[in-house]
Amino acid sequence: MDTLASQIEGGAQTARVASPEEALLADAVRTAAAEGRVLHIVGGGSKVGLGGVPRGSPLSTSALSGIVDYDPAELVVTVRAGTPLAVLQGELARHGQMLPFEPPDWPGATVGGVIASGISGPRRPFAGSVRDALLGVRLLDGRGQVLQFGGRVMKNVAGFDLFRLQAGAWGRLGVVLEASFRVLPRPESEVTVTQRLSAAEALERMNRLAGQPLPLSAAAHVGGVLHLRVSGSNAGVTAALSSLGGDRLPVDVAAAFWASSAGLPPAAAIESDASVAAPLWRLAVPSTTRSLAAEGEVAIDWVGGLRWLRSDAPAEVVRALAAGLGGHAAAWRGNLACPVMHPLDPVTAQLHRRLFAVFDPHSVFDHGRFDAA
């Protein structure tokens, strides 16, 4: 890269220079804006089923592939959005590292989709969410401009955190072209123990344990069984296990359990029964919220902060339940004739509309998932 001085003297500071692949996407966005068309951004298509049928023509990020910069000692990786998540995870694993937030590794998932969906896995209460690990993005906005927010360093308070705003934005504000994440070392040891408990007992126990200095890395309750995972040094894990008790799950069984619980109710065979089962709801609530078994709760994750419900109740009823508990409910799977996201209050909804107009004044990017705003 040129030195800064020459960038300034050369006038390059007027705009970021787009790579050839980025320039093609920028052209597509500008054309769509000029023609009043809608685009929906597609990575690997693994999350298409979430949030209803996409509108407009697809805009693929598959040309944006590859790791741009990775130095394990920096704990930072910079990667293009179309890179398959599995490729990134593989490279991190080779260096004994991982993404902290344990995203769902559904077939075909890309880095861009991980950011857009903002779905964090079971490690989230202990190691943070997608946006917590995000350090910076390159973004293609609805005018076809390349913008860069945040950076490749751990601490950065220059400008508003518009990069974190992209996590969970479902591409509504633009196409994430490239992103930098903070990564973590993989724990030396990781063990899952189980214990048969009622939902109420499990909620009490997991919340109490999370308040103690133990190397917990996941706590979920499914099918009448509390699952607790501890991660860390061999010494730390061994000491923690002796105080936790419970039955130790075989390593492969435990890995499969937690992998399936990232973004879905643990161990639920969602795809096969989607046509027959009641709609699936994802509720975020205060972690000590009572068991919602009577309302259709099928699984508890995130130390109680995440509840999966199967419910035929009208959407307004489920949403009123979540709101009454101080949380919110997303319509996750099933033929639900309601907005995907929990409706926003009028003040927040107005802020959303204004933020959409900042980044996407011509409404180029598919907004189906934000109908609630």
């Binding site: 800064l4 300034i8 006038g11 500071q13 007027t14 705009a15 394990p72 000692a73 920096e74 590292q97 903002g118 989230r124 943070g128 969410s129 946006r131 401009q145 913008l147 860069q148 927010f149 950076g151 360093v153 751990m154 601490k155 950065n156 308070v157 220059a158 400008g159 508003f160 955190d161 518009l162 974190r164 705003l165 996590a167 934005a169 070392p185 999370a210 308040g211 200095p213 133990l214 860390g232 040094s233 061999n234 730390g236 000491a239 975020a284 609530v285 972690s287 000590t288 101080g326 949380g327 919110h328 209050d345 003040v347 927040t348 802020l351 959303h352 933020l355 900042v358 980044f359 705003a373």
Partner: protein, 487 residues
């Protein structure tokens, strides 16, 4: 607008506030004339001191209707001039909103008003074995509201994160007084992550009236290793070695020789005076975890040529070793009439190169510079020595500082790791961002505050200012949001 008793604005503000809730005389306004960046001073029109969110809301409504700028203020410890008044503005002090609304030990959550001191949250949670993790050096004085405005860090943020990682929700007020509720005790609010946008927005987007924070279990044991090195390069390599070994220390700090000597003279922490750099690496957790991690940290330091190693064997010794690092700024303050603290962040691998560059710049500008770093996350605090009473010294210090920040951006870093932009780094913002990005910041500001009432002129430079300093070329018609004012 004027400060004359009986002016319509002051009458309306007085009506909205408790009897002693409005300050408008020059003498009592004086303590509010600056924040921690004391080189800039300005008396505001008035200071409003509400005791409740409802009173704060009334103040905002009055000011919004009158088109008077409002500058929210916590404890005024910020280091970038984010709370610097303007003569035409009302300072809205949140210092009297200092109730701890509730601590829920089972849910590990505290709900507090913005004027609650950072350290007071941990004090309130201590009975339950819990604490609030971010610990900026000003934590005994700074408020959680100010921490939210600045996205404050601290020496433990490599492992435990910044404010943005530890705040779950806020209640606040928009410029026109409308109420905003974002997040709470439930994770991940619906819709866009507005919470992340509010945190670190330096009082430009909203006024925070309540904060829900995450509490963590207090680690059982902590131990610190102090390692000395014959060169800054060796110390930098040891930092990379520790992280490369899969260790995330609870704290990882570095000081150069000038800083070390200043500190040792001041607090006698037991730092070696012949080291080119010293490293402090802390481990916390259970006894087994700490014993294991400390042994590995010591091994890595030895491998990278540590000339001496001291590991704390008691809590008293641990605190003594940290006392030096924590006294670095006042210690430097004893050996120079004034110092100017910088706050760049760089990828750690460029540490040696950036330090060499700082040494060259120090010679060129004719001002000494001591270096203190949050080494684990690459956050540098070069302390530039100057004498405010010597004509031209401050200007040289500021020019030196801007050159350091340029070097940070060139190295792939940023102009501010944790202190914020405020008024101090407006020029440096022009170095880090291109015109359409700055325009996006202005547009986001306008989305929250269309009238531009909240803390105007801070955090984001006008494109005109950047064009003046030659950092951004603005071509007519090519700029985003041409409807926005550019001053």
């Amino acid at each position: 607008m004027d400060r004359t008793p009986g002016s319509p604005l002051l009458l309306q503000l007085a009506a909205a506030l408790p009897a002693d809730g409005l300050i408008a005389d020059a003498e009592r306004l004086s303590p509010y004339a600056s924040d921690g960046l004391s080189m800039y001073r300005e008396l505001p029109l008035a200071v409003a001191l509400p005791q409740t969110a409802a009173e704060a809301q009334s103040v905002l409504r009055v000011c919004h209707a009158a088109g008077v700028p409002v500058i929210a203020r916590g404890a005024g410890t910020g280091l970038a001039g984010g709370a610097l008044p303007r003569s035409d503005a009302v300072v809205l002090s949140l210092a009297r909103l200092k109730r701890i609304v509730r601590v829920d030990p089972l849910a590990r959550v505290a709900v507090v008003e913005p004027g609650v001191r950072n350290a007071a949250i941990s004090e309130a949670a201590a009975a339950y074995g819990l604490y609030y993790a971010p610990d900026p050096s000003s934590q005994i004085a700074c408020t959680i509201g100010g921490n939210v405005a600045e996205n404050s860090g601290g020496v433990h943020c490599l492992k435990y994160g910044l404010t943005v990682h530890n705040v779950m929700g806020v209640r606040g007020l928009l410029a026109d007084g409308s109420e905003l509720v974002i997040g709470g005790a439930a994770p991940d609010a619906s819709g866009l992550d507005v919470l992340a946008l509010l945190i670190g927005s330096e009082g430009l987007l909203a006024v925070i009236t309540e904060v829900t924070v995450r509490l963590l279990p207090r680690p059982r044991v902590a131990q610190v290793v102090m390692a000395s090195f014959a060169s800054v390069e060796d110390a930098g390599d040891a930092v990379a070695g520790i992280i490369g070994a899969g260790i995330i220390p609870a704290g990882l700090e570095m000081m150069d020789a000038l800083a070390t000597r200043a500190v040792e003279d001041f607090v006698h922490a037991g730092y070696p005076l012949d080291a080119a750099a010293i490293l402090l690496a802390e481990s916390d957790g259970t006894a087994d975890e700490v014993a294991d991690e400390i042994a590995r940290i010591e091994a890595v330091c030895r491998q990278h040529g540590a000339t001496s190693l001291t590991t704390s064997q008691s809590e008293a010794q641990r605190l003594k070793l940290w006392a030096g690092r924590k006294a670095a700024f006042p210690a430097v303050g004893r050996i120079t009439p004034d110092y100017y603290c910088m706050d760049g962040t760089i990828p750690k691998k460029h540490l040696s190169a950036v330090l060499r560059r700082i040494a060259e710049l120090s010679e060129r500008h004719g001002l000494a510079c001591a270096n203190v770093f949050h080494a684990g996350d690459g956050n540098l605090h070069p302390l530039i020595f100057y004498n405010a009473n010597q004509s031209g010294d401050l200007e040289r210090a500021e020019a030196f500082g801007l050159d350091i920040l340029r070097a940070c951006v060139e190295a792939g870093g940023t102009i501010t790791g944790e202190h914020g932009v405020g008024v101090e780094k407006l020029d440096a913002m022009c170095v880090q961002f291109v015109a359409p990005e700055l325009a996006a910041f202005h547009a986001v500001k306008a989305a929250f505050d269309p009238a531009g009432v909240l803390n105007p002129g801070k955090a984001v430079p006008t494109l005109h200012r950047c064009a003046e300093m030659g950092a951004v070329h603005v071509h007519g018609g090519q700029v985003l949001h041409p409807q926005l004012p550019r001053f």
